[in-house]
């Protein structure tokens, strides 16, 4: 009897678990489903009550007119350019800075490492204004430089931290053996250490890709000319010019802007999960 009731609660618990997880999944997925559905609807049907999930006369008009409504091809190209160079910089510079912290000791390095980690606690707003003034003095406002340069000078404290943690797990004998074979420090880094931490590199890479593609605040303050807009600012600009009037076109363009992120995620999912798990490790 006792065993039976225990089993009973267990089944009840399982059912409740699935119910909550499935409902939460629906909450997470439904908006995307709705976005796809609305994108293919005719304007009249978008505002129809009660709304239907499936478009009655599926149409591509929202995509065609939205695409022509603003220069989305250009926004995409701009975003791709910024994302490419910023991501490349993030991976290269954070890994090489981490190499320094992990393998080249000086009396200052423990202190510098603490300072570096301290910058993670700093809200972006604090450095925002001095940074803006710096780029202003350098006459780099309304160029892509302010969006790319920060990635090449360190690539973020958190990424450096990840790399350091993993470089430290690699035995120093690796480096020494390579050095005996005549490799210099840079070759040790590029040929021995970097390939050994490939999962970290990929995790940093995919997270940087998504971060830079989605970034809204930096392009918002640094870019002024509409022909330089990235997709995030382009969408906001498009929204401003359309209001709620052309919601179909807006959602169609939003959907298109998500496709690259979705594609990266679909192919590299395990590196994302890995990256996030590693981020929890420092807690």
């Amino acid at each position: 009897m006792h065993i039976k009731s225990y089993k009973g609660t267990k089944i009840l618990g399982k059912t409740a678990t699935y119910c909550i997880l499935i409902s939460a999944s629906m909450i997470c997925l439904f908006p995307f489903l709705w976005m796809v559905s609305t994108s293919f609807k005719e304007t009249a049907q978008i505002y129809k009550m009660p709304p239907g999930l499936f478009p009655e006369n599926p149409t591509l008009n929202n995509f065609i007119e939205g695409w022509q409504g603003a220069d989305f091809a250009l926004f995409f190209k701009n975003s791709a350019l910024v994302t490419l160079f910023a991501t490349l910089g993030t991976v290269l510079s954070s890994s090489i800075v981490a190499y320094g912290f992990a393998r080249f000791k000086s009396r200052l390095s423990p202190f510098l490492f603490i300072v570096l980690l301290g910058t993670m606690m700093l809200p972006t707003q604090v450095t925002l204004i001095p940074q803006y003034l710096l780029y202003y003095k350098l006459k780099l406002i309304d160029t892509y430089w302010p969006l790319i340069i920060p990635s090449w000078v360190g690539g973020g404290a958190f990424n450096i931290f990840l790399f350091v943690q993993f470089f430290r797990t690699l035995p120093k004998e690796f480096d020494e053996a390579a050095k005996i074979d005549g490799a210099n420090s840079l070759q040790v880094f590029l040929k021995i250490l970097l390939p050994a931490v490939r999962p970290v590199m990929l995790a940093v890479l995919v997270m940087a890709l998504v971060y830079n593609w989605n970034d809204f605040f930096s392009p918002l303050i640094y870019l002024n000319s509409s022909n330089k807009f990235t997709i995030a600012i382009g969408l906001q600009f498009f929204k401003g010019s359309q209001g709620n009037v052309k919601i179909g076109e807006m959602l169609a363009m939003s959907l298109v802007s998500l496709l690259p992120v979705m594609a990266v995620f679909a192919t590299c999912q395990k590196y994302f999960i890995q990256g996030i798990k590693m981020s929890g490790m420092k807690g």
Partner: protein
């Protein structure tokens, strides 16, 4: 200072202006605090519960994990626009669903008492990373603890409160600090959807900073705001850190 002219030392003028004349300064801090107070506990509680459920032996764990993570990686202008449409008062599908249940849906983004709640809901939709960090923390707990507890006759609820929760506190602590820092900087959703309105109900510190620095050209005053925000964030981080010895439990 402004961009064109030379900067000159103004002493405490910016601070005095903020505290005595600028009516939006306290409003912005108050709104931000309201957001933080709703979002941070909500985020911690939901991510703990979902993390806990995901840690059970269930079918499709990988699938669920992916699904909860998708809103996080897609969070940006596109998704903010999408949520704004779903929460549209007259044509939004959410209010349609509510009407099926016989509930008259609120004016999510137009009612000054409701709008911050909507912004919090939008943010809670994107906490997939917190969920995965929480899940990783929960999965680190050795199975043997639960097994001995079961032998001693501890039920499911008892196991959660006596084993899972205490041993997840280091992860909760980490999530709490990171979430606090991010929450105080809330900008994107109110900027895109409400522009701080209606009646300044979603006008946050970051928006005030942005408007002063980049629309009105008052860089010095914007810097004042940034330091004010920094001071508040530091104070809260310190409080959380000091309090941690009373509630964070390290199992080594």
């Amino acid at each position: 200072m402004n961009l064109a002219g030379k900067s000159e030392f103004t002493g405490l003028d910016n601070w005095i202006y903020a505290f005595t004349e600028d009516p939006l300064f306290f409003r912005a801090f108050g709104n931000t605090l309201k957001y933080v107070v709703m979002f941070v506990p909500g985020s911690i509680i939901i991510s703990f519960i979902i993390g806990l459920l995901l840690s059970k032996k269930i079918e499709g764990q990988g699938f669920f994990r992916t699904v909860f993570y998708i809103p996080y990686i897609t969070s940006g202008v596109a998704v903010t626009i999408l949520l704004g449409w779903i929460f549209n008062t007259d044509y939004g599908v959410l209010n349609y669903f509510l009407s099926l249940l016989g509930i008259k849906g609120p004016d999510w983004l137009g009612d000054k008492n409701m709008v911050m709640v909507s912004i919090v809901i939008f943010s809670l939709w994107t906490i997939g990373n917190n969920i995965i960090i929480m899940l990783a923390g929960i999965q680190d707990i050795p199975r043997s603890y639960y097994e001995s507890a079961q032998i001693d006759g501890a039920g499911a609820a008892r196991q959660i409160f006596s084993i899972t929760l205490p041993l997840t506190t280091p992860t909760i602590y980490f999530n709490l600090i990171v979430t606090f820092i991010a929450a105080f900087q809330i900008f994107q959703q109110p900027f895109i959807l409400t522009n701080g309105g209606p009646l300044n109900a979603t006008y946050t510190v970051s928006m005030h900073l942005y408007n002063n620095g980049f629309l009105y050209g008052k860089m010095g005053y914007a810097a004042t705001m940034a330091w004010g925000l920094f001071a508040v964030i530091m104070a809260i981080t310190l409080i959380v850190q000091k309090s941690s010895k009373y509630w964070v439990f390290y199992d080594d």
